[in-house]
Symmetry: C2
Subunit: 126 residues, 2 copies
DNA sequence: CGACGCTATATGCGTACGCATAGAATGACA
DNA sequence: TGTCATTCTATGCGTACGCATATAGCGTCG
């Protein structure tokens, strides 16, 4: 019984910490840069890794999004001119996603917003 | 710079922990009980507190949901017969939300599912 | 080569969300 | 009593999501 309530308490804590930060972050990114949280996270994955040209499946594996959600996120980013999609040459089922110069800049600006929000709303305790 | 990456790392960790657990929980609750995560959390609030009859605004304050999302969640729960809404007598703008017997039972069953999922997917590290 | 199973991505569909606003009831003040 | 600012909940609207399925390319075996 003790273990159960401890488990639920940890979950509650995670739930409220996450939602508090996520809501602020979502709003700030949207307002200042026209980006969804998923948009930003996707851009982030593309800058963080060595090659800034990644296959969809690699992105999907590194993220929390479902395959379909990632597909649409990348479609949004492409429409906004932040990434480009190119078919792989060796396996034409695959799709490479690549940051554009604009995408790189937008990410850099958005990262400032992210840091500002995190430092204000992400408490050390969780 | 050090502090910045530490902050971002904490956020990443929170993000992935949350999503891993939330996705499982959402699916399990939906499949086994026809409940959204928000549905369950709302029922949970109604059983946890002293009086199991609460005003919308009290629920809203105790939760992460927006006011409109809570309104619709309660509407769903009422439609399913798990809660009842009654106008307050003293302030008829307000709405009391009350668990039905069915709602109480459903919550008790769903809580087992919650505990099962949490014990499997909520790691001690967060 | 041709058929088949498998993998990678896209899309139809239904749902929950947040924002902005509408609608109803309150309290204060003339 | 009548007006008006305020509070509480509901709703119109547009968006992102997940699930299931469609589509296109791959590799193998005959």
């Amino acid at each position: 019984m003790e273990a159960e309530t401890e488990l639920v308490d940890r979950w509650r804590s995670l739930l409220s910490s996450y939602n508090a930060v996520a809501a602020q972050l979502e709003r700030a990114l949207q307002e200042a840069h026209g980006l969804t949280l998923s948009d930003f996270e996707t851009l982030d994955r593309l800058t963080t890794r060595d090659c800034d040209k990644r296959r969809m499946q690699d992105l999907a594996a590194a993220m929390y999004l479902s395959q379909s959600a990632l597909s649409r996120t990348v479609a949004r980013l492409e429409k906004s001119g932040l990434v480009e999609r190119t078919h792989c040459v060796d396996d034409r089922r695959g799709v490479f996603v690549e940051l554009t110069a604009t995408g790189f800049e937008r990410h850099a600006e958005a990262r400032k917003t992210q840091l500002a929000v995190l430092s204000r709303h992400l408490t050390p305790t969780g």
